[in-house]
C-alpha cells in the first residue's frame, strides 16, 4: 500500500498556484474593501520633503527620469507626487524646472504626467516660461557627461522641437554648474547621475528609488552623495501625504500590507511543516 504524505509534508509543498491565487485575491481586495491603515511618515521621506521644500527662491532644478515602463507601476506615485511638488515650488518660489529623460521611455512618461496634471504645452500656455521638457537624452553616462558640459550642444531643442534659446526658462542655463539641484527618479540605479553630476561638479542629488535599489543606495545616502531618498511605493505614498494630495501611492500601499500578510503566513506554514518533519526525522 502506498505511503501517503503527512500533513506536515504537504504544508511544505503547497502547490504554488494556491499561493498565487491567495496573492491575487489580497492584491485586489483593497480596491473593493476600504482597508485604510495608518501610515506613519518615515524620517527618510520627511528629509526628502524638507530638502525639496527648503530650496531657495529661484532655484534651477533638473527633474531627471530614468524609469522604465515596467518600473512605472511602482514609481508612478513618486513620479506624480514629486512633479506636483515641483510645480508648487515653481508657482510659490519661482523655481525653474527642467524635465528630461535618460532612456527612450522617458521622453514619453513625463509627457504623460504633464497631460495628467494639465501642464502639457497643449493645455498650458505658460509652458516654456518656468518649466520645460527636454525629452530623451541618448548616450547614457556619456550623454550625461556631455550634457553637463554643454546642454545645448546635446539637446538644442525641447521635446516638441522648440529651440532652447527661444524658451525663457533656459535663459542663462547651459552647464550643470548653473543648476542648483538634480532630482533623479530611477528604476535601474543612479550610479550614472552620481558619477556624472555629483562627483565631478558637486551638484546636490535627490533620488526617487525603486524599492529593490534602496539597500544599495544606503551607503551613498550615508556618504552624502545622495542628499535624500524616497523608497518605493511607500515613499510615494508618504510624499502624497506630505503634500496633502493623495494619489495612487495611498491606494496601492494597502495592497502591500495585505500581500505581506499572506506572504508571511505561507512562510510560517513552510517553516512549521519543516520543523515538525525535522523533529520526526522525515527531512
Amino acid at each position: 500500500m502506498a505511503k501517503t504524505e503527512s500533513v506536515w509534508a504537504k504544508m511544505s509543498k503547497v502547490d504554488r498556484r494556491w499561493l498565487f491565487l491567495a496573492l491575487w485575491i489580497v492584491i485586489l481586495l483593497p480596491y473593493f474593501v476600504d482597508l485604510s491603515l495608518p501610515l506613519k511618515i518615515t524620517k527618510m521621506s520627511q528629509d526628502y520633503y524638507n530638502y525639496l521644500n527648503n530650496m531657495p527662491k529661484g532655484s534651477v532644478i533638473i527633474w531627471g527620469w530614468d524609469v522604465s515602463f515596467a518600473g512605472w507601476s511602482e514609481m508612478e506615485a513618486q513620479g506624480v507626487a514629486v512633479t506636483k511638488l515641483m510645480f508648487k515650488m515653481m508657482r510659490e518660489k519661482g523655481c525653474r524646472i527642467i524635465i528630461m529623460g535618460y532612456r527612450e521611455e522617458c521622453g514619453h512618461l513625463p509627457e504623460r504626467v504633464l497631460l495628467q496634471l494639465g501642464m502639457h504645452p497643449t493645455q498650458n500656455p505658460d509652458y516654456g516660461k518656468m518649466y520645460v521638457h527636454l525629452g530623451w537624452l541618448p548616450g547614457g553616462s556619456v550623454g550625461m557627461s556631455n550634457f553637463a558640459k554643454n546642454m545645448r550642444a546635446v539637446l538644442p531643442k525641447d521635446w516638441w522641437g522648440t529651440p532652447l534659446d527661444n524658451l525663457p526658462v533656459m535663459k542663462g542655463i547651459n552647464q550643470i554648474q548653473d543648476v542648483n539641484l538634480v532630482i533623479y527618479i530611477e528604476s535601474g540605479g543612479c550610479e550614472a547621475a552620481i558619477s556624472q553630476y555629483v562627483v565631478p561638479y558637486g551638484t546636490p542629488l535627490l533620488v526617487c528609488a525603486i524599492a529593490q535599489n534602496v539597500p544599495g543606495n544606503m551607503p551613498r545616502l550615508d556618504a552624502g552623495l545622495i542628499k535624500a531618498m524616497l523608497a518605493g511605493i511607500r515613499g510615494g505614498a508618504e510624499l502624497e501625504m506630505l503634500i496633502k494630495e493623495l494619489g495612487v501611492g495611498n491606494i496601492n500601499i494597502t495592497g502591500i500590507s495585505t500581500t505581506h500578510i499572506v506572504l508571511m503566513a505561507f512562510m510560517l506554514l513552510a517553516n512549521i511543516g519543516y520543523f515538525i518533519r525535522k523533529s520526526k526525522g522525515e527531512t
Binding site: 491603515l37 506613519k40 521622453g107 548616450g139 556619456v142 544606503m218 494597502t254 500581500t259 506572504l263 517553516n271
Partner: protein, 225 residues
C-alpha cells in the same frame, strides 16, 4: 584586408589606447589632454553616436534573424509565424514613428502604442515578479540553520517596516527595520560595493593588458590568452 581586421590584436589595442587615454584625460588639465580637450569631447560624442547606432544595428539584426526563421520555416524553438508577426508589428510601429503626415515620435498614434500596448504589457510582466517573489520566499525562507533563521527574522522585520500593517504592532517595528537597513545592511552593501569596484578595476586592467580575452573568438578556456 578582412584578414587584417579579424586579427585579435586590433580590439585589444583599441581598448587599451582609449581606456588609458580617458583615464589620463580625466585627471589632467593640459589643453590637449583633459576632459575638456577637443579629442576627448569628440570621443564622447562618437561614443554617443555608437550607442545610437547600436539601436539601428539591433533593428537590422532582429530583421535578419526573423527573416532567417521564416525562410527556414522554423518550428522550433518558436514557430516561424511568430517571427512573421514580429516583423509585421515592427513595421507598423516603425511607420507610426516616422515623421510622415500625422505620424511621428510625438504623434498621438505613437503615444497610443506606448499607453495602450507597451505600458500595460511591461507593467503586467513586472507584476509577475511579485508572484515569483512569493514563490521564492516560500521555498527559500526556511530556518534550516542559525544563519537562515537570522535571515528569516530580518526579512520579516523589513517586510513589516515597509508595510503600514507593521505599525499596528508598535513603533519598535519601524525603528528596528530602519536600524537593520541603515546599519548592518549598509555595512554589507558598502563592503560589496567596494569589492565590486575592485573587481571591475582589476577586470579592466586585465582587458587593457590583453589578459582577459573571453569576449574574443578563439580564447583559451575561461578566456585566458
Amino acid at each position: 584586408m578582412a584578414l587584417i581586421l579579424k586579427r585579435r590584436e586590433i580590439p585589444i589595442l583599441l581598448t587599451a589606447f582609449f581606456a588609458v587615454y580617458m583615464m589620463v584625460a580625466y585627471h589632467l588639465t593640459l589643453p590637449w589632454l583633459s576632459e575638456t580637450s577637443q579629442f576627448t569631447k569628440d570621443l564622447q560624442t562618437f561614443s554617443q553616436i555608437l550607442g545610437v547606432m547600436a539601436l539601428g544595428l539591433g533593428y537590422i539584426a532582429i530583421v535578419r534573424l526573423h527573416v532567417g526563421y521564416i525562410s527556414r520555416r522554423i518550428k522550433h524553438p518558436q514557430h516561424w509565424l511568430w517571427s512573421l508577426w514580429l516583423l509585421i508589428v515592427l513595421a507598423i510601429v516603425t511607420i507610426v514613428g516616422l515623421p510622415l503626415g500625422s505620424f511621428g515620435v510625438r504623434s498621438a498614434q505613437l503615444r497610443w502604442v506606448y499607453d495602450s500596448v507597451l505600458l500595460p504589457m511591461r507593467g503586467a510582466m513586472y507584476a509577475v515578479v511579485s508572484f515569483y517573489i512569493a514563490s521564492a520566499a516560500y521555498r527559500v525562507f526556511l530556518a534550516r540553520n542559525k544563519e537562515a533563521a537570522v535571515m528569516l527574522g530580518c526579512s520579516i522585520i523589513v517586510m513589516l517596516t515597509n508595510a503600514p500593517v507593521g505599525e499596528l504592532l508598535g513603533t519598535w517595528v519601524g525603528g528596528l527595520g530602519s536600524w537593520l537597513l541603515s546599519v548592518p545592511c549598509m555595512a554589507g552593501e558598502r563592503a560589496l560595493a567596494i569589492c565590486a569596484g575592485f573587481g571591475s578595476l582589476v577586470l579592466a586592467w586585465r582587458m587593457i593588458t590583453g589578459r582577459e580575452t573571453g569576449y574574443l573568438r578563439g580564447a583559451r578556456e575561461g578566456g585566458a590568452e
